[in-house]
């Protein structure tokens, strides 16, 4: 379990995250949604320990944040081949190559295995970065917008890969996304952030079809129109 207690974070005096109490259970998939600047990335970074909150604390039971895998919103591609990039984090070098090839297949980019990672197109890079994280088989995985640059015909590959990891290894996922449909397809629970606060949370389909708060309603107003 991951539990955020009275977390506050501000930049230059502006509060960007203000969370009283937020709980993530193991084995579930969470989708975090909210307008730009609502603090989604900051939330994920605090869970991973990349940013320190000004006050409050994050409590962990079981695996600590050190063992979480985390995909930044703008992942860095190392200046060597795609395959080597994916193999980077794998501790056991024996089956690293096989695993990396398999991960690349999962995101539909087998053909690029020898390409230089830093010359990939935006969507290709994002998919490789996601594969690079998922191949690690960590118990908790934080993904900051893994699908923003991915084309409509490949999104399901990434989503299926996530679902598979969740099913087979009981991996916990916390995923930020701008796509409510993706949250519905993927997540057990959606969390709606607004100006750094959790406004609503619940089963995604229910939440997005019948939002309660006016902020959620206006956030979704233009969705599917």
């Amino acid at each position: 379990m991951i539990c955020l207690k009275e977390i506050k974070k501000s930049y230059n005096g502006r509060i960007v995250l203000d969370i009283d109490d937020l709980l993530f259970e193991r084995g579930k998939i969470y989708a975090v949604l909210g307008p730009n600047g609502s603090g989604k990335s900051t939330l994920v970074k605090i869970i991973k320990g990349i940013e320190k909150p000004d006050s409050g604390e994050v409590l962990y039971t079981g695996k600590k944040e050190m063992d979480f895998a985390y995909l930044p919103q703008k992942p860095y591609m190392f200046n060597f081949s795609v395959l080597k990039n994916i193999m980077m984090g794998i501790a056991n070098k024996d089956d690293a190559l096989k695993k990396a090839k398999d991960a690349l297949k999962q995101v539909g980019l087998e053909n690029l295995k020898e390409a230089r990672a830093c010359s990939l197109s935006g969507g290709e890079a994002q998919r490789v970065a996601t594969a690079r994280i998922l191949v690690l088989d960590k118990e908790v995985v934080l993904l900051d917008e893994p699908a923003a640059a991915v084309d409509v015909s490949s999104i399901h590959l990434v989503e299926n890969y996530i679902k598979k990891a969740n099913k087979e290894n009981k991996t916990t996922f916390i995923i930020t996304t701008h796509n409510p449909s993706q949250a519905i397809r993927l997540a057990d629970e959606a969390i709606f952030l607004f100006e750094g606060r959790v406004y609503e949370r619940g089963e995604p389909e229910k939440l997005f079809k019948n939002p309660e708060k006016s902020e959620t309603i206006s956030f979704l107003a233009n969705w599917r129109i």
Partner: protein, 228 residues
């Protein structure tokens, strides 16, 4: 002008003279400069990467001091090392004064701050992004720093070459602690000083040309390595 032309002929003659002395001087120059640059690079890059990628109190001040030390005058370093290694000095027992190791020590002191200061600023722009990605992949601190160095290799090569440039062109320190002893601690720069001191400006220039040739070969080798 004719002086300058003469020097080229002279440089050519020196190189192909098969004179054991001149080859000894070239080899010692290579040994001292390459060795001290390697040591300085190891110290300078590793500490520079640590300092550059971390935020801590007093960092600004530390960076200022390091950058100030980029301007350490070789003669001063020479005097300090002399006082340390002199028979009367704290390390006099080692008997290192007027030997090649003394020259290496002095050059390491001169070159390390240069490589460190430039490394700190070279890695800055990529540090945050690479660190975040590496942490996300579960890489340890050492491997993260290694990746940072690897990804900044193009820039760090230049940094090392700048350090090497200082080592190979420096004369004040090696003169003082080496003593410019023929067949023992005479390197190209001290020979140049010796010759210009005697008024042999053309021979000085000729030696300078040889020095630049060596420098060019080192550069060429380094860039080759970097491209691999």
């Amino acid at each position: 002008m004719t002086d300058i032309l003469n020097s080229f002929t002279e440089a050519f003659n020196l190189i192909f003279s098969l004179d054991r002395e001149i080859y000894g001087i070239i080899l010692l120059t290579l040994f001292v400069t390459v060795f001290s640059t390697i040591i300085s690079s190891v110290i300078g890059i590793s500490s520079g990467v640590v300092i550059g990628s971390k935020e801590f109190k007093g960092k600004k001040q530390l960076v200022r001091v390091v950058q100030t030390l980029m301007g350490l005058p070789p003669v001063v370093v020479g005097v300090l090392v002399y006082l340390m290694l002199s028979r009367k000095g704290p390390l006099g027992e080692l008997g290192l004064l007027f030997t090649a190791p003394a020259m290496v020590i002095a050059q390491v002191i001169i070159v390390t701050p240069i490589i460190m200061g430039l490394t700190i600023s070279a890695i800055k722009s990529k540090a945050e992004c690479i660190e975040e990605t590496c942490k996300g992949l579960g890489l340890g601190y050492i491997r993260t720093l290694a990746m940072l160095i690897l990804e900044c290799r193009y820039q760090l090569t230049s940094v090392v070459l700048a350090g090497y440039g200082r080592a190979i062109s420096e004369v004040g320190a090696v003169m003082l602690v080496g003593g410019n002893i023929q067949y023992h601690t005479r390197v190209i720069t001290t020979s140049i000083v010796l010759e210009t001191g005697k008024g042999n400006y053309d021979k000085g220039l000729a030696l300078g040309i040889i020095l630049l040739l060596i420098s060019f070969i080192i550069n060429w080798t380094m860039q080759r390595i970097q491209e691999v």
